[in-house]
Symmetry: D2
Amino acid sequence: MKKNISQGDNVLLYLNPRRTYLVKMEKGKSLHTHRGYVQYDSLIGKPYGTCITSNTGTEFIALAPALRDYIFKAQRNTQILYPKDIALIVMFSGIGPGSKVVEAGTGAGALTTALAYYVRPRGKVYSYEIRQEFIQNAEKNLEKANLAKYVTIKNGDVTVAIDETNVDAVILDLATPWLVVPQACSALKGGGAIVSFSPTIDQVIKMVEALKANGFADVQTIECLMRGMQIELGKTRPETLMTAHTGYITFARKSAGK
Amino acid sequence: MKKNISQGDNVLLYLNPRRTYLVKMEKGKSLHTHRGYVQYDSLIGKPYGTCITSNTGTEFIALAPALRDYIFKAQRNTQILYPKDIALIVMFSGIGPGSKVVEAGTGAGALTTALAYYVRPRGKVYSYEIRQEFIQNAEKNLEKANLAKYVTIKNGDVTVAIDETNVDAVILDLATPWLVVPQACSALKGGGAIVSFSPTIDQVIKMVEALKANGFADVQTIECLMRGMQIELGKTRPETLMTAHTGYITFARKSAGK
Amino acid sequence: MKKNISQGDNVLLYLNPRRTYLVKMEKGKSLHTHRGYVQYDSLIGKPYGTCITSNTGTEFIALAPALRDYIFKAQRNTQILYPKDIALIVMFSGIGPGSKVVEAGTGAGALTTALAYYVRPRGKVYSYEIRQEFIQNAEKNLEKANLAKYVTIKNGDVTVAIDETNVDAVILDLATPWLVVPQACSALKGGGAIVSFSPTIDQVIKMVEALKANGFADVQTIECLMRGMQIELGKTRPETLMTAHTGYITFARKSAGK
Amino acid sequence: MKKNISQGDNVLLYLNPRRTYLVKMEKGKSLHTHRGYVQYDSLIGKPYGTCITSNTGTEFIALAPALRDYIFKAQRNTQILYPKDIALIVMFSGIGPGSKVVEAGTGAGALTTALAYYVRPRGKVYSYEIRQEFIQNAEKNLEKANLAKYVTIKNGDVTVAIDETNVDAVILDLATPWLVVPQACSALKGGGAIVSFSPTIDQVIKMVEALKANGFADVQTIECLMRGMQIELGKTRPETLMTAHTGYITFARKSAGK
């Protein structure tokens, strides 16, 4: 992370937890909100974290966007994964700097963005998307996050073939992940990780059966629930309305035979 | 991840989800279990993922250890964080390749291991531990995971001082995190992340007050619950006994003032 | 429950889980909805459970209202307790037929309705409400559910005095329940139950301290989370949005001393 | 509830939340525990709630057993339902004083005990159990709770026939509840409630399909999670280990046709 804001930087203008704006610093331009406008010229050169006051007197904080900001602010043309689920997918798959990863489908590129972020600087993400019309949007989201160079998006169908071999992890966010298990098995190196995200229990049952039939080991399925807490002396409590179920995450590791 | 097992590699010998063994490949040596012994000579040179049969006929799978294996297999002399919580700490702090991170306390080095894993190859973790006797064990766990070079462990008290400046994130797993907030504020670059893990709600309330008093923005507290699922046609159900509460995670970002 | 619908009965006209209408059967009258109107004359004399078609061809089912229908359909001028919480309060307090119960505050009478339902036919609920303007509405809700005769609503302040003695249970849904503990202790018979519902953890901590200071035994606090499931072959999953936290329930039993 | 302890009464001797003893007061007898013995003669005639000291100086509190004590202390030869689930079954079925209820199977009689408790004094529970050897134990548990007269236990198979008609509710805790849906439909009065408890999602899917195929309305499935809280100033937190999933509860109401 850099210390000072430069021309061309993406900046997250923070008003409150529900109102944040991901904008690109361009000389002479400004952000217009219901709380007044903020001129970028008065931010360029200042350190990240600076408070700036709009013309109507409201304070905004100029933050360097974090990974989850890029995820939440991605231009969406389809349902995207939640950070809580992305976090567990990354942790349980073992994806990190240098990993070679296959992902399908690309969708809006939210998970792709996270994968690219963690495999830097020498790893690579191969992301498959069958719907041509989604690819351009995903690429734009990756470029915005400065992560496009770690990703190759392919217009292809992983239920037919995965081109890559010897990959560290295959990550699936598809309606029928069980159809991809044999292809994933060929693509993965021995001991490599397969991870699948599915909203329904019916999908999970089919996926787990396919994984076992293809000799995968250490098959586990989990659900992650994240509760927000309201912390304030005298009013501390969990939040009432909660995004509870988003999907189940299934993990397994490739067994290479005897 | 490498393709074949070599002399000197760490290998995870997998029997079932509850029985795994993290061992170092040494010629002439073997693993002895209640299900017979496995000779390492018969694994060296084979691809990861290979199935090997013990002398009594039980199958083990030889896997490349993933990050969470190193975490779970760490030698513990104190309570360690769960992977579910580590995953969210990493995601919400924005820590990734290249990050400069301060952590306290080191404890058994479980979280340190994860932080070092993600900041590779050019980032750095500065981990503070006040109890001298914990440091050697944590160093051993980091060496086992080949991550020691990304970490500097310091025998020091972060409630007194943090030496580093311009850091991307400060991660606290301490009994009294609120005492560290001013030091963390000095150490962080503008917009940098502070994250604190605490088991009790009383700690969270004090921490959130200290963060607000020190001008931190975007203060949020969450609890992560991970449910294991038993997936088997005709017997599918969430697990009965669940590790529910481990702790609350509080996040905030440094605001640098006007 | 009666078998056939009579003039004067309350009937629940069920369209779907989100659209139900609690109406009183009166000759010559009808229910008007966005899906057409239903004439009561065509229902009177028919068995409960009958399907009836509106003038526009939509089917409604005429059900005998259950306790939870009266609770959900209560005229509300304040927040009411959820059936999940009422269910646990009733179970853990031991309230049942014949119980003598003190409740405060009455509010809209939702919990009062449930308590009255279970203490029938020989028990009694004494419900205290400090806000005079709430009492009439609560009485109307109780009359609608035919349960008014099991309840005495009193315009009084339980932090000052509870008139009854030798009661089986005291149930509190108040902002400051800890102020009522000494009065509840005097009102309860030895071994009697006190139950308190509070949204915030701060209230719970004060209540538990007051209970222990007043010698109550078996003090327990729980939170009840109810997840709705979407059950449909191929689409089975927990619901996404969930009413998670409503409040904590604290139970204790009076210890009478040596 | 009575005020004073008499010869022949059941008394709950409370040591702490994990150690309670349900005993019958008999002159000249005593309870022997690892914390010394308590003589019943010194309790008879005293008020409920009395503290009594064992010969070794440990205090016990003599409480009138509540419904949940009878449930927890039931002699078990099979898995019993948890109070949290019983509470929701009772609330959502609308069972209360005067209800006519069919239950299957009886098992150890834990749910039977609760149903009998709530239908008093004029309702009735018909409880079917196919395994003759379970019936005697269940009857003993009901007698201990003084509720036997509200229950008729039948050695019969509800998948073959339910003898009763015009019942208010049918409650099923069986491995194959879907086989009982037609019989339940015949037994229920129009608008009557059917409730089924099942541990697995596979059972729930079959049950919901059977309910819809038999014309039941308002079909809902829920899961109840109860979190225990540790409340202590400075140490307040949810409990770590939690009994999470016990089973799903499915509710529906009989529609009587047009």
